[in-house]
Every structure is written in C-alpha cells, then in structure tokens.
C-alpha cells in the first residue's frame, strides 16, 4: 500500500490551506488606529495611516482632530484651557489626547509597537 497520487494531491492542498490559514490568521502589524470617544461613547475609529480631519461639534464646543503621517493631534479646540492642543502629536499605542471640558478622548489603539518591538499596556501622562 504505497502513497497514491491522490494522497499527494491531498497533502499538497492541505499544505496550501495551512499557508492560507497562516496568512489570514497571522497577527496584523499594520500600524495603529485612532479611537475617538465623546463622554465615554464611541464616536468612531480611524486608521492612523490615513489622512483625515474630524470635526466634532457639541453643545460644549468644537474640536478638530487631524490625522496625518501616522500621527494624530488636536488642531483646533474652543475649550477654555487648550490643554488638548498642547498635548501635541501622538503616534504610539496607549497614548491619548484628552479634552476634559468637552469630555473628548482621542486614543491610539491597535498594534503600534515601541522601540523594543513590544506593545505598551498603558502610558503614564
């Protein structure tokens, strides 16, 4: 009882399936995402790799968030203190821009990695 042609074919196709599975399931390392929440509620998620300006108008005021070149920053805000604008550009997972008066949070999430190639769990700001 030797190995038949059919068996070889089967083995080959299974190997192919394994490779496909590997590519489908492998951990994605394609940069981070931006998650915006307003008063604890999800406003939207955006790719950090794209370019986008997001204008959010609320009763409490207006914020304009800019995503470009793999970084996100608060471009405009009419909150009284302006801390959110001063927080500058964020690009690392775990970092966040917080506009307290408008209860708005812009977080970098996803697979962004630090210089040692390992992701952070939290950032002390």
């Amino acid at each position: 009882m030797g190995i038949k042609k059919k068996d070889v074919l089967l083995a080959g196709s299974l190997l192919l399936a394994a490779c496909l599975l590997f590519f489908v399931l492998r951990p994605k390392g394609d940069g981070g995402q931006i998650r915006i929440t307003v008063d604890g509620k999800l406003y939207g998620t955006y790719a950090l790799s794209g370019e986008e300006k997001i204008r959010i108008e609320q009763e409490s005021g207006v914020n304009v968030i800019h995503i470009r070149d793999g970084a996100v920053w608060m471009e405009e805000a009419d909150c009284p203190d302006g801390y959110c604008i001063r927080q500058g550009k964020m690009e690392r997972r775990g970092q966040a821009i917080i506009c307290l008066p408008h209860k708005l949070v812009v977080e970098v999430i996803g697979q962004e990695e630090n210089e040692n190639g390992e992701a952070l769990d939290v950032v002390v700001q």
Binding site: D7, D81, L100, L120, V122, V123
Partner: protein
Amino acid sequence: MKKDFYVIALVCGTILAACFFCGCFGKEGELLVLEDSEASLEFFAMDTYMRVVAYGREDQANAAVSAAREEIYRLEKLLSTELETSEIYQVNAHGKGELSTDALSLLQRAVQLSEMTEGAFDFTVYPLMRAWGFMDGQYRVPSPSEILGLLGKTKVSGVLVDEEQGYVEFEADGMQIDLGGIAKGYAAARIMDIYREKGIANGLVSLGGNVQVLGTKPDGNLWRIGLQHPDGGKEYLGVLQAMDLAVVTSGGYERYFEQDGERYHHILDPSTGYPAESGLLSATVVSADGTLADGLSTAIFVMGKERAVAFWREHIAEFDMILYTQEEELYVTQGIVGDFSSSLLFEIISEEP
C-alpha cells in the same frame, strides 16, 4: 479504513501547524483555551479621564470594573472641593466640621505625608491654587502681597484633627484643604482591594496620570508601562515593567498658562506660593502604595533632584523614582533599574552617595 486515518492525521497536523505559526499557543506551548475575558470602563471623574480594566471570569470582571467606578464616584462625592454636598467642601466653607471614616483617614494620611516630606507635599495650598486660577481656569498672576497673605494660610500644622470625634478645625480664617493630591492614588489603591475581593487577580487602572496594576498581565508577563516624555508624543522617557505597583507622574508640562511671555505651571511650591522651579520637568514615583506614590510624585517635583535623592535614600524601602531635568538628564533609582528600559541615556541613583 487506514486511508481515512491518514487523512484525519494530515488535517489535524495541518491545523496544529497553522496554530503554531499563528501564535495560538502561549509562551510555554500550552493551548490557550481558557482565556480570561477583559472588562473595561472609561469615564470622567475627579476632573480627569479614567480607565479601569479587569481580567477574569466574564461576570466577575464585569462586576469588578462596575464596583471600581462606583467607588470612584463615592470618593469624589466625599472629597470634591467643588461639590457643595461633599464633606471637604463643608469643612472648607465653615473652617470646621465632621468627617466620616474615609475622609478622616485620608486627611490623616495627608498630614503624615506632609510631615514625611517636610512640607513639600501640602494639602493646604488650596487658597493659593484658587488665587492663581488653577481651580476654575481663570488664570492670573496674584500680586506678591496677595501671595504673602495666602502663604500665612498655607500650613498643615494649622489643621487640627480630632481623631476620636472625627472632627477637624482650622486654626486660621480662610484656611482651606484639598485632598486631591492623593485622592486619585487612594482611589487606585482602593480599586486593587475591590478587585481582590471580587476574585480578580489581574487588572490595571489609569486615573489621569495615576497608573496602578494588580498582579501581572493575564499571560503572566509583567505590565509594560510607558512614561510620557515632557516634550510630547514622539518619544517616551522609557518603559517600566511592573507587577503590583503604582506609577504616578507629576510634571508642569501639561497644565500651565502664559502671561507676558512667562510660563506658569500648576504645581505650586508651598514655601514660595509660586510655581515650583526645582529644575525638574517630570517626576515619576513607583511604589506598592498608590496613595504614597500620588502624594510623593508632587512632593518630589517640588523638592528637585538634590533634595529628592537625599529623601529617597532615607526611604529606599518605600518607593523608587524616575526624574527628568530641564538639562534633559534622566535619573533612575537603583530599585527599578532592572525593570526600566529607555532609548535615552540615563544615570542610576544608588543607595550609597
């Protein structure tokens, strides 16, 4: 039916191989079937943004983060300086009043921290904070005579606590207290207790600059905590790996205002009444005690490097610290050197001078 067996073996082997390459296995090679579920809540409280995370059985983890949020709301109602119904507000308004057990023990902790740091941590600086506009955002530079007057009301020794009666009274009119300097650290520490009570062994809280972790990550690895660079988003001061620790940073780089070309940040030196100019841009304190870490981070920032190093050498068993100076020098105390990594050069502060 030998052939069927052959096919099944091949399928199993293939899936196993795929799993291996995809990282479905844990570090030690065991199949991760019983993975902890993650529960998290994000919300605004105590004038900051908070995130609480717990890992465990789904119902336990959910119950734990809900209880954590409730505890923060409860403490906020008790300790707020803005809320008319809070115990601290009432004491500030009348110069005296009764305190419940929680508020009283936190007040005593604040007194103790003030003594320990020889006044670098001062919870009676509140009238000065108001004069500068740091409480309501109406920033102004008070006149030197106004500051001098308010410095007279900034003295922890003027807070008279009657432990037996649960009563506090201020020595002078116009004195006011704010326990906000340790409230978040205390809340983080309380949440660790709540997590344990709820059967949670792994968790993390980030309460606006106060981070505290319970146990390790669910996979057994240490938590990786990034320290924000005062210059902003691009770079980290470093990464600290930790378990069962609180990490708190104080810096003048986020909350400040500018007037006539001068920059005034929000951490006041209780001895001068002006923003602390200690040469530090950021001070991070690492300790198993969340309340201590919170209070000390402010105190260390006010002290400056020289005084902070001498202070650390007297309290080596209680905390470690990471300092970043205006000269862009980074210092790390001996106790955490093994768990700290940075792309920047740093100097180790050792026990012996």
